[in-house]
Amino acid sequence: MAIQLNDVHFAYPEAPNTDVLNIKSWSVSAQDQVFVHGPSGGGKSTLLNLLSGMLTATTGEVNVLGERLDTMNARQRDRFRANHIGYIFQQFNLIPYIDAIDNIQLAHQFANKNSRSVLVDEITSLLSTFHIPQTDWHKPVGKLSIGQQQRIAIARAMINKPQVLIADEPTSSLDQKNRDNFMSALMSLVSEHHITLLFVSHDMSLAKYFGRIDALSEINAVREGN
C-alpha cells in the first residue's frame, strides 16, 4: 500500500472539539492513480496536508509508503516530504522571482539525492520534456505563462523522483487547451515512472483520465456544516 489511513481524526487546535476529518479506513495501492472529488471545505486540503506531513493527525494512523507519519518528528516529516512526495497546487507552485532552473534546484536541495553535476542534466531534460523553450529557462517564472508555470511545477515536483505525487486542483487556473496538455503530460509521466498519483479536483470532466474515482464525502465521515 502506498497510502493507508486507519481511524484518523483531525481537529484544529483552536477548535479541538470539531473534527474536520474522520476517516475510518482509506487506502491507495502503489502506482494507483486516484481521482478524488468533492466540494471545497470538505476537508480536502486537510487530508492532503496530513498525507504530506504538513499536519499531523490528532489521533489515528497515517501510513505513507510504509512509514508512519504520525510517529515522526517535524524534522523527519520535512525530510520525508522532500524525498518522497511531489506536490502540485492550483497556483503558486513556484517562487515567482527566481527562474525555472533555480526553482527546481531549490526543491532538490531539501532532499538527499544525487550530486550537482547530474542535477543540471536532469533539470534540463525535465524542462525539455515539458516543452519549456530554452530561452525561458533563465527568466523569472513569474514572467512566464500560467500554462508554462504549471508544467515547470510538475518538473519541480518530479526532481526528487517522488513515489507519491499529490495534485491539488492543478488545472483550475488553466484554459481547456492548456488543461489537456497538462493532463497528458502528467499522466504519461506518472505511468512512465510508476508513481502513485492522488489527484484532487471538483472538475468531474477530468475523471476520464483515472482508473479509480473516490468522492471525498465517502472517505470523510464528517459532514459539511457539522
Partner: protein, 413 residues
C-alpha cells in the same frame, strides 16, 4: 542558492527595501560620524600639546587659560608683568620657558608673539618638535613664521610681506600697516592650532604697538627700523608662558609657588589635567550625541523589522510553498534573518562610503573654522565594533519577522 534566494527576494521588493536601506544608511552614517568625530577630536585635542609641564597666566580658570594659550580660542583675561615672567623662569627647577603674547591677528589667524625657544622646546602629539617646511625661525624684529594652514590658505611663501591687524576680528579696521612683516619661515603641518598661528618675536609685537596709545594708532610717523634697533625693545608684559621643568616631581611644588606668588595673581595649570577637564565637559555633549545616534539606529531597525513583518504577510504562499517542498522552519527563519542582514550590510557599505565622502569634502573647512583635525580612517577598531553591533542588533530586530516565518506554517490553504 540560499543567498541567491534571499537577494532575489529583496530585489523583488525593491521599493520598500530601498527605503529601508536609506533609513538604515542614515542611521549608520550618523552613528559612525558621531563616533568618528568624537574619537578624532579627542585625539586632536590631546595631541595639541605635550612636554609642557605648566602653563602660567593671569589668575583665571584653568580651562580659560588652556583655551586661549593652547587652542587660540577665547580671549585672555589679563596680562602678566614681564618682571614676573623673568622671576618665575629663573627658578632653578625650570628647564626652559616659552613666553606668549596674544592679541593681534592677520586675516582671522591669530598672531602669537614668542621667543625662538618656542621652536626649540614646544612639542605636540607624541613629543614631536616643530619643524620648518621652509625657511627658519625669526631673527629680526619684523620677521614672521607662519603656520602651515596660514601659508596654504593665504598663499604665502617666503619673503612675502604680511600686515598684522590689531585685535582678533577677521576684518579689522585698525591695521599695523606702517610696519609690515617679512615671512622668513613656514612650519610643517602639525594638525594642531599651531597650523593656524602667525608667529612673531616679542620684540615685533612690542614694536608695532610702540606708536600706539590705549589701543588706538596715533598720528605720528612710523618708528624706523634703525630707531627700533637703538631702543632696547623689552616687552612690558606678556599674556602667558609655558614651562618645562627639570624634573616632573617638581611640578606640584612649582605650581604651588606660582599660585601663591605675592606680587601678582597668577594661575599655573597642568596641561594634561586641564585637557581632561575640558574633555569631561564635552562628555555630556558626547553622550547626548551617542544617545541620539543610538535612538536613530533603533528607529531604523524597528522600521526594518516592520517592513520585514509586512513582507512575511505578503509572502505567506511563498513560505507555504517552501515548507511543502521540504524546507524546515529553521530554513525560513534563517532566510528572513539573512535578508535583514543583507539590508544591514548594504546600508553599512553605503553609510560608510557616504561618511568618507563627506569627511573628505568637509575636512578642510573643519580644520580652518573649528580647528578640528579629522582623519579619514573611519574604520577604526571602535567603529568596526560598532558595525558588528549594528549587525547583531539587526539580527535581534529581524527575529520577530523571522519567528513569524518560522511559525508561519499556515494550516489548510
Amino acid at each position: 542558492m540560499f543567498t541567491r534566494l534571499a537577494s532575489k527576494s529583496l530585489l523583488n521588493r525593491k521599493g520598500s527595501v530601498l527605503l529601508t536601506i536609506m533609513a538604515m544608511t542614515v542611521s549608520i552614517f550618523v552613528l559612525l560620524g558621531v563616533e568618528h568625530i568624537r574619537g578624532q577630536s579627542k585625539q586632536s585635542f590631546n595631541s595639541t600639546i605635550s612636554g609642557v609641564d605648566l602653563i602660567v597666566g593671569a589668575r583665571t580658570g584653568s580651562l580659560n587659560l588652556l583655551l586661549y594659550s593652547v587652542f587660540r580660542l577665547g580671549s585672555p583675561t589679563n596680562n602678566i608683568d614681564w618682571e614676573t615672567y623673568q622671576r618665575v623662569s629663573s627658578n632653578a627647577k625650570v628647564a626652559w620657558s616659552i613666553p606668549i603674547s596674544l592679541g593681534d591677528s592677520h586675516k582671522g589667524f591669530r598672531v602669537m608673539g614668542t621667543t625662538t625657544d618656542y621652536f626649540k622646546y614646544f612639542s605636540y602629539g607624541n613629543k614631536r618638535h616643530l619643524e620648518f617646511s621652509s625657511g627658519k625661525a625669526f631673527e629680526h624684529i619684523f620677521d614672521v613664521v607662519l603656520g602651515a594652514q596660514v601659508a596654504k590658505k593665504l598663499g604665502y611663501s617666503l619673503d612675502d610681506m604680511v600686515i598684522l591687524a590689531h585685535g582678533l576680528g577677521r576684518t579689522s579696521f585698525s591695521l599695523h600697516d606702517k610696519s609690515p612683516f617679512n615671512v622668513v619661515g613656514i612650519l610643517a603641518a602639525t594638525g594642531t592650532p599651531i597650523d593656524q598661528t602667525v608667529h612673531v618675536s616679542l620684540q615685533g609685537i612690542e614694536a608695532i604697538h610702540m606708536d600706539w596709545q590705549k589701543g588706538v594708532a596715533t598720528d605720528g610717523t612710523a618708528v624706523t627700523d634703525t630707531q627700533l634697533q637703538a631702543l632696547e625693545l623689552k616687552p612690558k608684559n606678556i599674556t602667558a608662558f609655558m614651562l618645562g621643568l627639570t624634573s616632573r616631581m617638581a611640578t606640584f611644588g612649582v605650581q604651588r609657588d606660582i599660585n601663591n606668588y605675592r606680587k601678582e595673581p597668577l594661575s599655573a595649570i597642568l596641561p594634561g589635567v586641564a585637557l581632561s577637564e575640558l574633555w569631561q565637559m564635552m562628555g555630556l555633549l558626547e553622550n547626548t550625541l551617542r544617545l541620539i545616534s543610538g535612538l536613530i539606529l533603533i528607529s531604523a531597525l524597528l522600521g526594518l523589522s516592520a517592513m520585514m513583518l509586512a513582507s512575511i504577510k505578503e509572502r505567506e504562499q511563498e513560505i507555504h510553498l517552501l515548507r511543502v517542498i521540504g524546507a524546515p522552519p529553521s530554513y525560513l527563519f534563517l532566510l528572513i534573518e539573512l535578508e535583514a542582514l543583507l539590508i544591514s550590510f548594504i546600508s553599512m557599505l553605503v553609510g560608510t562610503a557616504a561618511l568618507y565622502l563627506c569627511l573628505f569634502i568637509a575636512q578642510d573647512a573643519l580644520s580652518t573654522n573649528f580647528g578640528l583635525h579629522i582623519g579619514l580612517n573611519i574604520l577604526s577598531f571602535n567603529n568596526i565594533l560598532f558595525l558588528l553591533l549594528v549587525a547583531g542588533s539587526t539580527m535581534v530586530a529581524a527575529a520577530i519577522p523571522s519567528l513569524t516565518a518560522y511559525k508561519g506554517v499556515d494550516r489548510g490553504q
